[in-house]
C-alpha cells in the first residue's frame, strides 16, 4: 500500500523549536519488536508457574448435572482440577450493568459456570498442570454430565412469550431498551416528497488479535499480594476488578502490562476465564498462566455487531433530508459483559445515527436481548459502523430515489462547517467539525469526475464498477460521561509523570497503554517536544499499576488526545522546574530561558547557556552549590481529563471504488480514500496507519467476517480457515487525507484517530456495491457481509 502524507503544516503554539508534533517519527519500540525482543504475556515464565486449560461446554445451554474430575486429577503433571462451586469460594460473581443505561439488567456471572452453561465455550471446569499440554490431556478425562436446556438463538423471537427465558430471575430476555423521539417525525415523513425504508443487517463478528488473550497471575501469600501480567488495555480498571472480586484492597494487586499484540477493544473487558486465573492463583498459592488458543478465542473473545436495523429516511425533491427513523435489535450473549456492559453498542447507534446531518426530526428505538451465544461487547468503533452504514445507506438510497448525485445530497444536508458549536438531534454536542472541507478534499484526492467518467465508459463494456461514500462522526477523548457517571470505576482522566535523570534524559510514566498502535511513540514525541530534548532522550514506561499514574488506558480513541495532553502538561511543568534550577545556576530569570535539544538556551537568541546534563549533575550531586533555600524539583506530574465536552467528536468522509464481477458475485476492491479530522496530528504516519488498519477492519465487516451460528447455538466457523479476516492480498490502496480542526479543550488539540477507518468503511463499500449494481436493477444489498452468494441472489443469477 502506498503511504501518502499530505498533512498541512499548521503552525500553532505546539511548534516549539525542534518540535516532534506533526512528524512521522518511527516508533521507539520498533527495533525491539521487529527483532523479536518484545515482552508479551506469553513470554512470561515464573518459578513454580502452572498452566490452566478449561473444559468448555459443548452445549449452548445446559444444566451441569455432575462433574467428575477423579481421572483427570490422576493424570501426569496435574496440580488441580477445579469446578465452578469450588472456585466460587475464592472469587465473587459480577453483574454487568451501568446506572446511566437506565433499565439495563443482567444476571450474575461466575468465573467458572456453577450449575448451568449458557453458551457453547463457557468454561465449566479448570485443570491446572505443569504444562498446557498436560492440562489439555487431563481436560479430556474430566467427565461432565449435561442436561440440555432450550436455547435462545434468534433475536427476533427472544422476547416472545413462548421463548425460554435464559435467566428466570430477570423475568424476560430483555437486557436493555431505549427510545428517543425528537422533533416532529411523523409530520416530517408525511410532508416528504419521497420516503425510503429498508432493513440493514450486520453480521456478528469479532476482533481477531495477533496475540490472543493472555494472563499470568501470581498470588504471593508472603506479602499477601497479587501480581498479574495481563495483556489488557486498561490495567487500572483490572486492578480494581481483581481486588474487588477477590476481596482484596487495590494496594494488594499489581497489574503489569508490557507488550500487547493488538486489542481492538477485545482486551478491555472482564473475561470469566481470566478472572478464574487470578482466583486459581490465590487458591493454589502459585503462579498460573492462561493463554487462549485460537479455537477458544473464537468462542470466548467478545463478539460484536449482530444488529438488525429497520430504517427509514424522508427527503424532499431538492434533497433536503426531513427525518430519520430506526428500530434496532441486537442479540448479545447470555450475560451483559462486565463492567462496560453489552448495551453500549446499541446505545451508540441511537446516539450516532443521522449525526453528520442537520436534520431535526429523529426517532429511534433499540432493544438488546439475551442469547445463548458467546458474549458481546465493545469492539473497535462501537456502534459507529452500524449507525454510519444505516445513515449513509439511507442517504444514498434516498439520493438514488430522487435522482440526485450522492455528493450533492451530502453537500445539501451535512452540518455547515461554520455552524459550530452545535449538536445533533440525538443530543450529541459538536465542538468543531469539518464535513464540507473534508468532502471537498476527498473529491480532489479521488479525482471524482474522472472516476465517474471511467465508471460510465466501462459500463458500456459490461464492467460494473461502483463508487460509494460515507460521511461519519467518531466519538473520541471520552470524559467521565462514558462510564464513570454510570458507576464503573473506569478512569476518564489520565496522568503523566516525567523525571529528569542524572544525565539530562527524561523518563515518562504514562497511564495510557501500548497495544501496538503507537501510544508510546506519541507520548515520547509529545514529552520530547514539551520539555525540549531529542526523542532518543525520552524513555516511556506504561502499564504498571505500581508505577504509572492512575489512568484509563487505551480505548475509545483516547490515548493520544488524553494521555498526550497529560504528557504535554507534564513536560511543560518539568521544563519550568528545570529552568528554575538553571536560572539559579546562571543567575538568570527562568522566563528568559528555554530548553532546546537538551540545552538550556537564552529564549530570545537561542544561545546555549548550560547543558541539561550539567543541570542534572549540579542538582543531584552538588545541590550544596545552589542558593540557600532553593530545592530543585526534577520530577513533575500532570493529569488531564476533557471537561468542556462529554466527547471530542471527529469527522470525515470515506470513498470506495470497486468492481463487481456480475457472473461470480465477487467484489474486487480497487481503491479506498479517507479524509478525516482528528484535530492536531501528532504523528501523521501513525494516524494514517490507524486509519488504514481501521478501514481494513471495516472492509472485513462489509465483505468477509461473520460468526456463523446454527439454531442450536453452535458456532460453525470458529477457526482461522472458516472465519474470514481481511487479508493483504484483497485490500486496496488506502489513501489518507486530513483536515485539521484542533479541539480547544486541550492545548495539544489532538482528538482520537483509532476508529475512524472502521466507522466509515462498511458503509462506503456497501454504497459502492449498490452503485455498481444499480443499472442492473439489483435489489439494494443491505445485509452484511456481502458474500458472492448474496450478490448473485440480488442479481437474480441464483435463486
Amino acid at each position: 500500500m502506498k503511504i501518502t502524507d499530505d498533512v498541512p503544516s499548521t503552525l500553532t503554539a505546539l511548534d516549539r523549536p525542534n518540535s516532534y508534533i506533526g512528524r512521522s517519527v518511527p516508533r521507539p519500540n520498533l527495533a525491539r519488536l521487529t527483532q523479536g525482543r518484545g515482552h508479551y504475556v506469553t513470554d512470561v515464565t515464573l518459578p513454580r508457574m502452572a498452566h490452566v486449560a478449561y473444559v468448555r461446554s459443548p452445549h449452548a445451554h445446559a444444566r451441569i448435572v455432575r462433574i467428575d474430575t477423579t481421572a483427570a486429577k490422576k493424570m501426569p503433571g496435574v496440580i488441580a482440577a477445579v469446578t465452578g462451586p469450588e472456585l466460587a469460594k475464592v472469587i465473587t460473581p459480577w453483574v454487568g450493568v451501568l446506572t446511566h443505561l437506565k433499565g439495563l439488567k443482567s444476571a450474575p456471572q461466575s468465573a467458572i459456570a456453577i450449575d448451568r452453561a449458557c453458551w457453547q465455550g463457557e468454561a465449566v471446569c479448570a485443570v491446572v498442570a505443569r504444562t498446557r499440554a498436560e492440562a489439555e490431556d487431563a481436560c479430556a478425562l474430566v467427565q461432565v454430565d449435561y442436561e440440555e436446556l432450550p436455547t435462545v438463538t434468534d433475536p427476533e423471537t427472544a422476547l416472545d412469550a413462548a421463548t425460554h427465558v435464559i435467566h428466570a430471575d430477570l423475568g424476560d430476555n430483555l437486557c436493555f431498551e431505549r427510545s428517543l423521539d425528537v422533533g416532529t417525525v411523523d409530520a416530517a415523513f408525511a410532508g416528504s416528497d419521497a420516503v425510503v425504508e429498508t432493513t440493514f443487517v450486520f453480521g456478528r463478528h469479532t476482533g481477531v488479535t495477533n496475540e490472543p488473550r493472555a494472563i499470568v497471575a501470581d498470588w504471593n501469600p508472603g506479602e499477601q499480594r497479587l501480581t498479574v501480567y495481563h495483556g489488557t488495555q486498561a490495567p487500572h480498571m483490572m486492578q480494581n476488578l481483581f481486588a474487588k472480586h477477590l476481596g482484596l484492597e487495590e494496594s494488594q494487586v499489581r497489574v503489569l502490562t508490557k507488550d500487547v499484540g493488538g486489542s481492538f477493544g477485545i482486551k478491555v473487558h472482564t473475561y470469566a476465564d481470566e478472572m478464574a486465573v487470578v482466583a486459581l492463583s490465590k487458591l493454589l498459592k502459585r503462579p498460573v498462566k492462561f493463554v487462549a488458543d485460537r479455537i477458544e478465542s473464537f468462542v470466548t473473545d467478545i463478539h460484536a455487531r449482530d444488529h438488525r436495523v429497520k430504517a427509514k429516511i424522508g427527503v424532499m425533491n431538492d434533497g433536503t433530508i426531513t427525518a430519520f427513523e430506526i428500530d434496532d435489535l441486537t442479540g448479545i450473549g447470555p450475560y451483559s459483559v462486565y463492567p462496560r456492559t453489552s448495551g453500549i453498542e446499541a446505545n451508540q447507534i441511537v446516539n450516532l445515527t443521522g449525526g453528520p446531518y442537520a436534520c431535526p426530526n429523529y426517532r429511534a428505538h433499540t432493544r438488546v436481548v439475551f442469547q445463548n451465544k458467546n458474549v458481546m461487547c465493545q469492539y473497535r468503533a462501537v456502534g459507529h459502523p452500524i449507525a454510519c452504514a444505516v445513515t449513509e445507506g439511507l442517504v444514498e438510497l434516498a439520493a438514488a430515489k430522487i435522482g440526485m448525485d450522492p455528493l450533492d445530497i451530502r453537500r445539501k444536508n451535512l452540518i455547515a462547517d461554520n455552524a459550530y458549536p452545535t449538536g445533533s438531534a440525538s443530543g450529541l454536542k459538536f465542538e468543531a467539525l469539518s464535513h464540507h472541507a473534508s468532502l471537498d478534499k476527498l473529491v480532489k484526492m479521488m479525482d471524482h469526475d474522472a472516476l465517474r467518467a471511467e465508471q460510465t465508459a466501462l459500463r458500456h463494456k459490461g464492467i460494473y464498477r461502483g463508487i460509494g461514500f460515507a460521511s461519519f462522526i467518531e466519538v473520541t477523548n471520552p470524559s467521565a460521561a462514558f462510564y464513570g457517571v454510570g458507576g464503573a470505576k473506569i478512569s476518564a482522566q489520565d496522568g503523566c509523570t516525567i523525571k529528569l535523570d542524572a544525565q539530562g534524559a527524561i523518563v515518562c510514566h504514562t497511564g495510557v497503554t501500548e497495544q501496538g498502535q503507537g501510544a508510546e511513540a506519541v507520548i515520547a514525541q509529545v514529552a520530547a517536544s514539551a520539555f525540549g530534548v531529542a526523542i532518543e532522550r525520552v524513555r516511556v514506561i506504561t502499564g504498571d499499576t505500581d508505577n504509572t499514574p492512575y489512568g484509563g488506558g487505551t480505548w475509545a480513541s483516547r490515548a493520544a488526545g488524553i494521555g498526550g495532553e497529560a504528557a504535554w502538561q507534564a513536560g511543560k511543568a518539568l521544563r519550568q522546574n528545570v529552568l528554575a534550577v538553571a536560572g539559579s545556576i546562571l543567575q538568570a530569570k527562568p522566563e528568559t530561558l528555554d530548553i532546546r535539544d537538551s540545552q538550556v538556551v537564552d529564549a530570545g537568541t537561542g544561545k546555549e547557556r548550560i547543558g541539561l546534563d550539567e543541570v542534572a549533575r549540579i542538582a543531584y550531586f552538588r545541590p550544596d552549590t545552589l542558593p540557600p533555600g532553593f530545592q530543585a524539583e526534577l520530577m513533575a506530574t500532570r493529569h488531564y481529563v476533557p471537561r468542556a465536552f462529554p466527547f471530542s467528536f471527529t469527522n470525515g468522509i470515506q470513498a470506495s471504488y470497486l468492481e463487481v464481477d456480475t457472473d461470480s458475485g465477487f467484489v474486487k476492491l480497487l481503491k479506498h480514500w479517507c479524509v478525516e479530522d482528528c484535530g492536531t496530528v501528532i504523528n501523521p504516519q501513525l494516524v494514517d496507519e490507524q486509519v488504514r488498519g481501521g478501514v481494513v477492519q471495516g472492509i472485513g465487516a462489509a465483505l468477509y467476517e461473520q460468526c456463523v451460528y446454527d439454531e442450536r447455538g453452535q458456532m460453525l466457523n470458529g477457526n482461522m480457515a472458516d472465519y474470514l479476516v481481511p487479508m493483504a492480498s484483497e485490500m486496496p490502496d488506502i489513501q489518507c487525507g486530513h483536515v485539521v480542526s484542533p479541539t480547544a479543550d486541550s492545548e495539544l488539540g489532538a482528538k482520537g484517530a483509532g476508529e475512524a477507518g472502521t466507522a466509515g468503511a462498511p458503509a462506503c463499500v456497501m454504497n459502492a456495491i449498490n452503485d455498481a449494481l444499480r443499472p442492473l436493477g439489483a435489489a439494494p444489498l443491505t445485509d452484511m457481509p456481502f458474500t458472492p452468494g448474496k450478490i448473485l441472489r440480488a442479481l437474480g443469477r441464483v435463486s
Partner: protein, 282 residues
Amino acid sequence: MKPAPFGYAKARSLDEAIGLLGQQPDGVKLLAGGQSLIATLNMRLSEPRLLVDINGLHELSGIRLDNDHLVIGAMTRQVEIERSADIARHAPLLAKALPHIAHPAIRNRGTIGGSIAFADPAAELPACLTALSAEIEIAGPSGKRTVRADDFFKGLFETALGPQDVLTAIRIPTALADHRCGFDEFARRLGDYAIVGLAATARANGAGLKDVRLAYFGVGATPVRASRAEVALAAGDLDKAVASLSGDIDPQDDVQENAAVKQHLAGVLLRRVAKQMTEARS
C-alpha cells in the same frame, strides 16, 4: 491447542517406514510436510500414537523425466513444482494451479504426496492429478503398485492407500503439442480453500477440443469428473456443457456458500476454463 502425546520415529529407509507403519495399525501417521497433519494434531482432531517422519528419505523427492512421463517424488515440496521448468513444459496445468495452493510459507514445506494422500476434497492437487490422468505409485509390505488417479480417491479423506502403504511418486504423461489445460477457482481470499474449483485438460481437435477431462474440487467428497460436460464440450457445445453440470456435480451447502451458489459458480468456471483451453490454441 497442544497435540495429545505421540511417539516419533525418523525413517532411515522406505522399508523401515513401511515396517513402522505395520507396528501399530491405525495408530501411525506418516509425517511429510506436516501442513495439514500438524494442525489436526494440535486441534486433537487426530491422535496418532506414532509419527513416522519420512522427510529424510531423499529418494522420495525430486522431479525427473522418464520417457513420456514426468515422475514427481512424493516428498517434492510444492514450491519446487511451482518453480520447475520441467513442470511448466510437461505439465503446465500444475504450474497454473500451484500459485493457488495456500500461501508461499505453506508451499515451501508442503509436499505433493502429502496433499494427495490427505485427499482434502477442496484441495487443488487431487483434482489436477485427476485431470492429468496421473498415476500414483505406492509401496507397501507386498511390494509396489500403481493406481490411476481416477481410482485413487475413494471418499472423504479416503484413498486407495492401505494402512501400511507409502505414496512414493506421481507419474504424469508429458504434455504433447496438442495438449490443452485450464485451471481456475473461486476463493474468497488468495490462498483459501476454494468454494469451487476446476482443473481441466484436453487435446486440440481442429477448432475444437477432444479427450476433455474436467475435474472439479470443492463440490463433493473427492475430485469430481464432470463427464456429461466433458462430452458436450468435446462436441463444441459450451452452453450444453454448462447446463449438464447439474447432472454431473452435486455440491453441498457449506459455511461459505450454499449448493445453488456453488453450482452456479461451477458453470462460470467452466466457461472461463474452456476459454483458457481454446484460446491456448492460437
